[in-house]
Symmetry: C2
């Protein structure tokens, strides 16, 4: 593929390759090799995961059994962590001869499901303050013992401090992450194993307590993470075509709320305000209406990378306005 | 397929067939035959569209060229309206020997694109008050003349009063829709043709000025439309599995913001509060925590049907807890 972006059917999900490459380099300087366990839920593409593997990050993190299946199918089998509880464990057990698959457990029921499904190794998932999955520290030892008695390898612990990702003040963030990770460390002292897994793009600079950080959004970024002043830039945009210009002051492009994850709000535009999104439209109020004509292309910045990517079949990899590759979003669905 | 819903991989998009059937009957009583042009953007399934065709609604409405292509591939060719502007007209022209395809135009540029792409008939799209596509009435006649000179059939006008869908007071809604449709009628008097197309589920009871109403959401409904007191009930839900129970007061299920269109906010749950959605989780605060265990299934009601459906590969059609069919969501992507 060596076309111009002007030939792409819109809406088109576009990755700026130079920015993506700078984001990789910045992360590798901070968290080389196994210190980073890239989280594929952010980008849902085995083509992109392969680039990260070749950078020296062979261990991956996933949020769904489907993502694990896709990674295995792509040969990314060295060390896969389902950083999530599931009862759908037979799909994972069926792949255990082809890949090292580890699953998070936080209860007897999820542990029993892992055993029954043929999963061979687990992390004990600890509640470190985000009201989501994870057990209390005083349950962790019992779960680890029970897992070992059932013949599973207990590789360590994980705990996701998701509630601290968007703390803007860096020293305050470091303090609060330290407190959350102290809970995880107590659990690790009880559970044992080599792995203390946690973190994300938002805490990747300050979380020095985990043996590995589960970050994925740093590759592509979004307008929300961009507020944090991380050493990563927005590489992901949605290209749309202007289909209507209204002299009363607005233009309409053909990318709407089916092309953007909307949970963090509207996408952003460098040349004016985003008024609202409809299913397949975005209504824009340009700084200079006269600059815009039907047929022009606009580039919009998603507010949240993960659910935006999940809406698209493929990412077009570009350098400036030249399309240099396409990456299927092959880890979608469940 | 005659399984129980308990065997479905979650998150699963589920359509309650009896409710769907009642919604169809209620709409058919109001808008029989050609009075309704079902809008496929709401449900993105040719299997469901075929049911509506068999009910006597052979004319469909779409929001994207991809939806038109899918309808043609499924043999639903009798009368397809792209109720949207596009410059991607060659894909439509390529199907013009197999289907009657009409496209909305609101500018010289979109009209020229229709001619160039081999599209044979158009509606003139009129701005009736929603800041989106549509031209002013005083432009409509010139566009219609220009279209006819280019050899196109001008079938009439369309105008979407999307800003009035959620007016809760019915008599106020009728008044405001009447005013919007007066604009459309003025345009129709100038443009001519048989079609005056507009409306949606939210105005389907009060818009008596259009020859046809573009409604799709009535089939499945969502929590937002449910507030209006329309004669339709929620037929669409997302089934999820409880993967974690925390004695501090919450449970977690495996359907998150990648399983729900989030632009109208969180989904709803009949048995407690929805605290927040993460990518693949929803954290729920049940009225009775003791009622819930890991492995239980929960049913969540989406806030917005269209973008929710667009996130899923298929809909499972159920009657109670019996799975009776599956409908591929085959009109996704662009």
């Amino acid at each position: 593929v060596t076309d111009s972006t002007s030939t792409l059917t819109t809406p088109a999900l576009v990755v700026d390759r130079p920015t993506f490459d700078r984001n990789r380099a910045a992360m590798d300087a901070m968290l080389p090799g196994r210190r980073l366990r890239p989280h594929v839920k952010a980008f849902k593409s085995t083509a992109m995961a392969s680039v990260l593997r070749d950078d020296g990050h062979p261990a991956f993190c996933a949020a769904t059994p489907r993502e694990i299946e896709g990674l295995v199918a792509a040969g990314l089998v060295e060390d896969l962590l389902l950083a999530n509880e599931t009862l759908d464990t037979e799909r994972l057990g069926a792949l255990s001869d082809r890949a090292l698959i580890t699953v998070a457990v936080d209860s007897d029921t999820t542990l029993d499901a892992a055993v029954r499904g043929g999963v061979r190794s687990v992390l004990i998932d600890i509640d470190v303050g985000l009201p989501r999955c994870g057990c209390d520290v005083d349950v962790a030892g019992r779960l680890a013992d029970r897992a070992r008695r059932a013949g599973l390898e207990v590789r360590g612990v994980m705990g996701y401090e998701g509630h601290l990702m968007m703390v803007h003040d860096r020293s305050q963030q470091r303090e609060r992450v330290e407190a959350a990770m102290a809970i995880l460390k107590r659990a690790h002292d009880i559970v044992g194993g080599d792995i203390v897994s946690g973190g994300g793009t938002g805490t990747s600079r300050v979380n020095t307590w985990c043996t590995e950080i589960q970050a994925g959004s740093y590759t592509l970024m979004d307008t929300q993470y961009d507020e944090l002043g991380l050493p990563f830039d927005k590489a992901l945009s949605v290209l749309a075509t202007v289909i209507s210009v209204n002299t009363k002051g607005w233009i309409v492009a053909d990318a709407g709320l089916k092309a953007f994850g909307m949970d963090h709000g509207n996408p952003s535009w460098d040349h004016g305000d985003v008024l609202f999104c409809s299913d397949e439209h975005v209504t824009l109020s340009p700084f200079e209406l006269a600059d815009w004509a039907v047929g022009d292309r606009v580039r919009l910045w998603p507010a949240h990378v993960d659910p935006t990517v999940a809406l698209h079949e493929r990412m077009w990899v570009v350098d400036g306005e030249t399309v240099i590759d396409q990456w299927p979003v092959d880890l979608r669905n469940w």
